[in-house]
Amino acid sequence: MTGRSEDQRGESGARLLGEPMNASELKLWFAQEVLPLEAALMQFLQHNWRNQSDIADLRQEVYVRVCEAAREARPDNTKAFVFRTARNILINRVRREHVVPIEAVADVDALNLAADEPSPDRTVIARDELRRLQSALDRLPDRCREAVILGRIEGLSGREIADRMGITESTVSIHLANGVRALVDAFFAPLSDRRGKQ
């Protein structure tokens, strides 16, 4: 990944004071500061990009770009940095692909990035997260759900799951990989309407 737009260079240029990060610092920063923004980021991308099948790629690109930049210099305001990067990525795609921009693309400043939203009661969030995880689990295909429950809740190994379900190890692997993806998506997904409406 060599090319970074002038635009983004400008962004990170403002943060030259930030220290470079090694791999484990970068991973920690990503886990603790970037991933908690995923729900808001996904909403931003979904609102501002017409083709919903591109969203996973756009999200990946945002993550890659912010991590590459943060490796050089840790940004001082992660939230603002992530959303400006997202906006730049959308703008660049618009320019390249000559798709008609949606007005809100440029409206990133309206997100009031400086102030952190007041967070709802922690137990409310936990309950909401649990409900989302439960429904994600419920939506899995039966065999996949069974494998995930055996592995995650009953603590069986892949080998034991294969024995218990009478299926091959490679099938168990596929079920578990799909289950992991679905649960993680649910874990990071936007909170339900209560917060999503505004």
Partner: protein, 330 residues
């Protein structure tokens, strides 16, 4: 190349990378994982930032879901445990008073009754068992426990030989329900209660109604004590200590009935002792400073691994595997 040398990442790439990351992740999480596997994973992660972020995201998210499950509080307050109505205790007491008077009349008959058959029930380490008696009483046995039960027409006797049992007694004033645990005898007075037998002591916790606690020996070393809902007694040979516990605390102590252990500012030493009651592979903590750290959360009693990981992540500790045991250390 368009403006400013910008490279746009190919579309359709992310899903494929995420699938690969998920495969790596599930292999590491659910299967045997060797140093060689780790080297291969490291190489894959090094290949591109896209690989790294996809893997980190799954790792962080999945650990988040596991912690969430670990912190989930089971629903203890089901209908059966809730007081049915305000009137019930009053009616109960009134009825009880009337029946006590009648009971005196049949007192003499009791001792002529031949001893009814005795049934024994036991659980292995890690197992629990629910026993429903003909009178509707339910006895739930915790790990590594044993009771003997003798139900007669005029008396109901249970001996807790070892371990722990939770009793939901179908109250019958004319047929006392008496639990003997070592040197203590507990008589039901319309109730649900827990009896745990340790080496030197007996613990009784009343989650509903009342029980009477007395000495089981003929000398009647101690005067009888009546215990009410919320009270917990620890009785050894020399003394009885009565404490009051909140409904939540009591519910936590009964978590095993749902296969979980609930910790609330519990030291790792106590938590390890609890887990070790349920599992053959033991948790070992040698460092006294580590042993005194505290932890909160709800854990499945058979999932020592998840507990060890939570201790590791939340308290910044290390885990060493020794045979079938796990050592928690700094």
């Amino acid at each position: 190349m368009s403006n400013a040398g910008e490279t746009v990442m190919p579309l359709g790439d992310a899903k494929e990378i995420e699938a690969q990351a998920a495969d790596w992740f599930q292999r590491r999480r659910f299967w045997n994982w060797s140093d060689d596997d780790q080297t291969k994973l490291d190489a894959w992660l090094e290949e591109s930032m896209a690989h790294s972020v996809a893997f980190w995201r799954l790792e962080t998210g999945f650990e988040g879901t596991e912690r969430l499950t670990a912190l989930r509080h089971p629903r203890f307050g089901n209908v059966a445990d809730a007081p049915k109505s305000k009137w019930r205790p009053i009616l109960f007491r009134t009825a009880a008073a009337l029946i006590v008077m009648g009971a005196v009349g049949v007192f003499a008959l009791r001792y002529q009754e031949p001893a009814p058959a005795e049934m024994a029930y036991a659980t292995a380490v890690g197992a629990t068992k629910s026993i429903k008696l003909a009178d509707g009483t339910v006895i739930e046995l915790n790990t590594n426990s044993r009771v003997r039960v003798s139900i007669g027409r005029h008396q109901r006797y249970v001996w807790l030989d070892r371990g722990e049992a939770y009793f939901q007694v179908t109250h019958d004033e004319s047929r006392p329900f008496v639990v003997t645990a070592g040197k203590r005898r507990i008589t039901d007075l319309g109730t649900k209660f827990l009896v745990r037998r340790g080496h030197e002591q007996v613990e009784i916790a009343v989650s509903q109604g009342r029980v009477r606690l007395e000495s089981a020996d003929e000398a009647h070393t101690f005067a009888p004590v009546e215990l009410i809902k919320g009270e917990v007694v620890v009785a050894n040979d020399k003394q009885i200590v009565v404490k009051t516990k909140t409904p939540k605390k009591l519910a936590d102590e009964l978590g095993w009935r749902h296969g979980v252990l609930v910790f609330d500012h519990t030291t790792l030493a106590d938590a390890a002792r609890e887990f070790n009651r349920y599992n053959e592979g033991k948790l070992i903590i040698e460092d006294p400073e580590v042993a005194s750290l505290t932890i909160d959360g709800t854990f499945r009693s058979n999932n020592v691994g998840l507990f060890a990981r939570a201790a590791k992540d939340l308290l910044g500790l290390r885990i060493e595997v020794r045979g079938s045991d796990m050592v928690i250390m700094r």
